[in-house]
């Protein structure tokens, strides 16, 4: 049994989405004041596992995300842990002002649990892609942003987020099918995980891009280049210590995110290094463009979001480091 109440064997069989639903349902036992708010997507967000167990604590608002987020603020004002679930683009774009003013300004214990983020609804197209959500959420005071990279980390992140007091945006995609985090470990909000040591450069990623970073590092290793790989599961507050250590010890950084390069992890890392220890920071992500639609792998490839793109960025980073 992992520390998080679900067995490791069970978690290994789950998709990240299912892991989210199961973790939330389990947490309902721990927190009697936990309420779930949905916007006609309780099924597809997999929050249904909670609803089944705690129907009296589940509230469906229909396709009205702004009302849902404002109502979540109302629940939180009365001391509830209010979990509002929806697709990422709806929480960050449609309900943007409610998140900023009702949740963050009032500094309430609302957990925005966003599913289907990034390009994970690939064939649904740009209308359904969440590629600006991190930039939007980062700009709000009091906000914390967590983005797990696989099923196990999703379970850990859900528990950490519920234990934390204050507004959180939990960014979940379809999640990596391959587990990137092995064995049981302590998940601490704001504390990045170095998955692989290296001295030549550092690849910092979150979400599904962590797995791509590991694949890229393997390819670099075959060429004798030692890449450090960091799972930056908390984008805000950024683990500044980890970023500066990477800058000092490896001298070059590649960031990788399923998000626009504007306002995301890449800019957060670059701003930090620029202030304290400038090194080249090459940003992998959507390069100020809208996404295309199609099958998931195809879309990610077209938008420059796989291991090959990280590899190319790494070569640029190394070249600039040695210039």
């Amino acid at each position: 049994m992992a520390k998080d109440g679900l067995s490791m064997a069970d978690i290994e069989k789950m998709s990240a989405r299912d892991a989210f639903g199961e973790a939330l349902a389990k947490a309902g036992e721990t927190y009697p004041n936990l309420v779930l708010l949905g916007a006609d997507a309780i099924g597809s967000t997999r929050a249904a596992a909670f609803m089944k167990k705690f129907p009296e604590r589940t509230f469906n608002f229909g396709i009205a995300e702004q009302e849902m987020v404002a109502a979540a603020a109302g629940f939180a004002i009365r001391g509830k842990i209010a979990v509002a679930t929806a697709y990422g683009f709806l929480l960050s774009l449609r309900a943007c002002e409610q998140v900023r003013t009702d949740v963050c300004y009032q500094n309430l214990n609302v957990k925005l649990m966003a599913t289907h983020t990034g390009l994970s609804m690939s064939d649904a197209g740009t209308t359904h892609h969440s590629t600006e959500d991190v930039a939007i959420m980062r700009s709000f005071a009091n906000m914390t942003i967590v983005a797990p990279s696989d099923a196990l980390e999703t379970v850990k992140a859900v528990n950490a987020v519920l234990a934390y007091e204050g507004p959180v945006y939990l960014r979940m995609g379809r999640g990596s099918l391959s587990a990137v985090n092995t064995g049981d470990y302590d998940f601490i909000i704001g504390k990045a995980i170095t998955l692989q040591e290296g001295t030549d450069l550092t690849i910092i990623a979150y979400g599904i891009m962590v797995n791509e970073a590991l694949i890229a590092a393997q390819k670099l290793a075959a060429e004798g280049i030692k890449a450090r790989v960091v799972n930056m599961h908390t984008i805000k507050p950024l683990d500044v210590e980890c970023v500066l250590k990477a800058a000092r010890e490896t001298g070059a950084i590649v960031t990788a995110e399923e998000h626009t390069v504007i306002g995301g992890l890449g800019e957060a890392v670059a701003a930090t290094t620029a202030e304290y220890h400038p090194v080249p920071v090459i940003k992998v992500g959507l390069q100020d463009c809208f996404s295309v639609f199609g099958p998931e792998d195809g879309v990610r490839n077209a938008m420059g979001l796989n291991a090959e793109h990280i590899l190319a960025a790494a070569r640029v980073a190394l070249e600039r480091k040695h210039r």
């Binding site: 309420v35 009296e56 604590r57 509230f59 608002f61 229909g62 009205a64 702004q66 009302e67 404002a70 109502a71 979540a72 603020a73 109302g74 629940f75 939180a76 004002i77 009365r78 509830k80 209010a82 002002e97 409610q98 003013t101 009702d102 300004y105 009032q106 500094n107």
Partner: protein
């Protein structure tokens, strides 16, 4: 607290004058809407709501949400008069470091339950509060005071549907229908009519009253409401009520009275306080 109608009328006149004086000291404020809604707020705080200023967080209290946050210039003198904080604090209104600004901040003002200002946020937050009260089996009512122009916001109608769907009999909303929005008479901007039919069609129990007639205001709050239905009180009011020279004029959304108008207000309202 349970004031009689004549006592409430005097109280409303007193707080109107205090609001006007506060706005004078501050050099400006949302005077028109603060005055039009004063009878409603006075009735709630001095007769209708279960509240205890000595225990502002009493779990059994009723809840007031000022969705039209710009009416804070009317709301904070009500709180002060009710005893949530001292009157002298009102002199800091809109000053740097004051707990009071143009829009109320729940983390700074004792007795203020929800931070508001941007329109269309109060009613959906009230829905969340009302749902949570019912979940906790508390017999409390949520009162949400809205502006009329606020009805232009789509989120009001999301919450209108949600409240009816969730059968929120513990939610009472009031529209301070002074018929003026910032750019002009509301009918010349985007009309709300037929406003009673609209709210009825959304599944609410609707009452229409003269919102500046204290007897009607009190009767609206005290009459029995059908179970399992949210209640909407459409309160016809006059913007700037209490200062005859500015009443009904949309230009008085925000402003400060000149010497002559101030003199008139002191005479009119002062007479009512003592009468």
């Amino acid at each position: 607290m349970h004031l009689t109608i004549p006592e409430l009328e005097k109280k409303a006149a007193k707080i109107r004058l205090r609001s006007i004086e506060m706005i004078e000291t501050a050099g400006g404020g949302h005077i028109g809407g603060s005055l039009s809604a004063m009878d409603i707020m006075t009735a709630l705080y001095f007769r209708i709501m279960k509240v205890n200023p000595n225990q502002p967080k009493d779990p059994n209290r009723d809840w007031f949400i000022l969705s039209a946050g710009h009416k804070a210039a009317g709301f904070v003198p009500v709180l002060s008069e009710r005893g949530y904080f001292g009157d002298e604090l009102l002199n800091t209104f809109n000053k740097l470091g004051s707990p009071f600004g143009m829009h109320p901040d729940k983390n700074k003002i004792v007795g203020c339950e929800v931070s508001t200002g941007s329109l269309g946020h109060g009613l959906p937050m009230a829905v969340g509060i009302a749902l949570s009260l019912r979940m906790d089996k508390l017999d409390s009512t949520v009162y949400c005071l809205m502006g009329d122009g606020e009805n232009h916001e789509g989120t009001v109608w999301e919450a209108a549907m949600g409240a009816a769907q969730h059968r929120l009999g513990n939610l009472v909303a009031i529209i301070d229908y002074n018929k003026c929005s910032m750019d002009g008479p509301i009918d010349s901007i985007v009309s709300l009519e037929p406003i009673v039919d609209k709210w009825k069609a959304f599944g609410w129990h609707v009452i229409r009253i003269d919102g500046n007639d204290m007897a009607q205001v009190v009767a609206a709050f005290e009459q029995e409401r059908p179970a399992g239905k949210p209640c909407m009180i459409i309160a016809d009011t006059l913007k700037g009520k209490g200062v005859p020279s500015i009443e009904g004029d949309y230009h008085w959304h925000y402003g400060v009275l000149n010497e002559k108008q101030l003199e008139q207000a002191r005479r009119e309202l002062g007479g009512k306080c003592n009468g």
